[in-house]
């Protein structure tokens, strides 16, 4: 079939782990947007969900750090973190190994990838799944972009990965959904946790929603670190999705800084242009 759904959403662990400490009105509005995203996703009847995430040293470490890695297992498990800390119970998540293998093989014509047949999801994937597939029935294909341990993959290669993913999805008979999940500006797990640069976030989101390639690829890591913190490096996930949905425009369904969640909480979907 092809790509049938694409969107972006936040994944910060506080979204579930510190839910009770947030402004209830903001939190509930954010949760409502996530529920709307779930309904929109389900309406497209996807057979698999690709989650482009930026994990946080759950599976990958500086002894052998892939820039890009795609899961290729029949099942995964998560969260790797303490269940009480994250507020999500540990569970097994179905994978789609055979489809993963086909997508990886197709993408390898265009980009270098690592693959993994074992993967323990951290909050970076479990928080999105908690809201989008809370019964864990939809097969998931995880993708990791290293956004934690420099040297980091350049932004243009994230775009190229997204393009390759789109070509691979369009060549597959299955109905495939893709979501990307990352922070925009944030300083997670540091003394500046809770700091959020809303104007920077909104400027980035405007470029993302308009799919402005040149402007998205113009960010330097030095500028991003200065203005958006180390969490800002996770714009790589958004840029990969923009490459995957090249030529399509997005709609912002929710954005609000929620400091106790340590991120500008975001929900957006891309209206996929016909191909």
């Amino acid at each position: 079939m092809s790509l049938v759904f694409a969107g972006v959403l936040s994944h910060a662990p506080g979204i579930t782990g510190r839910a009770q400490r947030a402004d209830p009105a903001l939190r509930d509005a954010f949760y409502a947007s996530l529920a709307r995203m779930r309904a929109a996703l389900e309406a497209e009847r996807p057979e698999a969900l690709v989650v482009i995430g930026a994990e946080h040293f759950a599976n990958f470490f500086m002894n052998n750090m892939p820039s890009l890695c795609v899961g290729m297992a029949d099942w995964y498990e998560g969260p790797i973190e303490d269940e009480k800390w994250l507020g999500i119970a540990r569970t097994r998540v179905p994978g789609a190994a055979e489809l993963s293998s086909r997508l990886i093989t197709a993408m390898m014509s265009d980009v270098d990838l690592a693959y993994a047949q074992e993967w323990k999801f951290d909050h970076g994937i479990m928080v999105p799944l908690h809201f989008l597939t809370p019964r864990y029935e939809l097969p998931v294909i995880p993708v990791n972009i290293n956004c934690q341990g420099p040297p980091l993959i350049p932004l243009n290669r994230c775009w190229a990965f997204g393009r390759a993913l789109r070509r691979a999805c369009d060549a597959a008979p299955e109905r495939i959904a893709v979501v990307a999940t990352g922070g925009i500006s944030h300083w997670p797990a540091t003394p500046d946790s809770g700091k959020i640069n809303e104007p920077w976030d909104r400027a980035f989101l405007a470029k993302f929603l308009d799919n402005r390639r040149e402007e998205l690829l113009a960010y330097s890591d030095a500028d991003t670190y200065r203005d958006a913190g180390q969490g800002g490096f996770e714009i790589r996930t958004f840029i990969a999705l923009a490459g995957c949905t090249e030529g399509s425009k997005g709609e912002l369904w929710f954005y609000a800084p929620i400091p106790i969640f340590a991120v500008g909480c975001t929900v957006a979907v891309v209206r996929l242009a016909p191909r």
Binding site: F57, N63, I80, K120, G149, P150, A189, P191, R226
Partner: protein, 102 residues
């Protein structure tokens, strides 16, 4: 400084149930598996969360170790701030390097 090995210890402690059991049963024996300096050993053992932060340990690793050692979220943030006051700015790692170059 052997920031890599401090972070590797915390990475494995966070994710590997076998390493977690070793930590619970004989922490000192586990620590011998990693090439840590005396200062790093002290910071990990106490723990001195603020010093670990100043040494450059990534918060995505450190926050889980802090939680394991009983630090609630606000106490974890406070410990890092206290570390900066007591030991000075972050010495190496992402939070130093990313602020200076690339």
């Amino acid at each position: 400084m052997s920031l890599y090995y401090v972070q590797k210890l915390l990475f494995e402690l966070n994710r590997d149930p076998v390493v977690r059991r070793q930590y619970e049963q004989n922490f000192d024996a586990l620590l011998k598996s990693y090439a840590l300096t005396d200062e790093e050993l002290r910071a990990v053992r106490e723990p001195d969360i603020g010093l670990l932060y100043v040494m450059g340990v990534n918060g995505q690793l450190l926050m889980h170790y802090a939680a394991l050692r009983g630090y609630e979220w606000d106490a974890y943030i406070a410990a890092m701030r206290e570390g900066e006051k007591r030991y000075g700015p972050v010495r190496t790692g992402l939070y130093k390097r990313a602020g200076q170059s690339t």
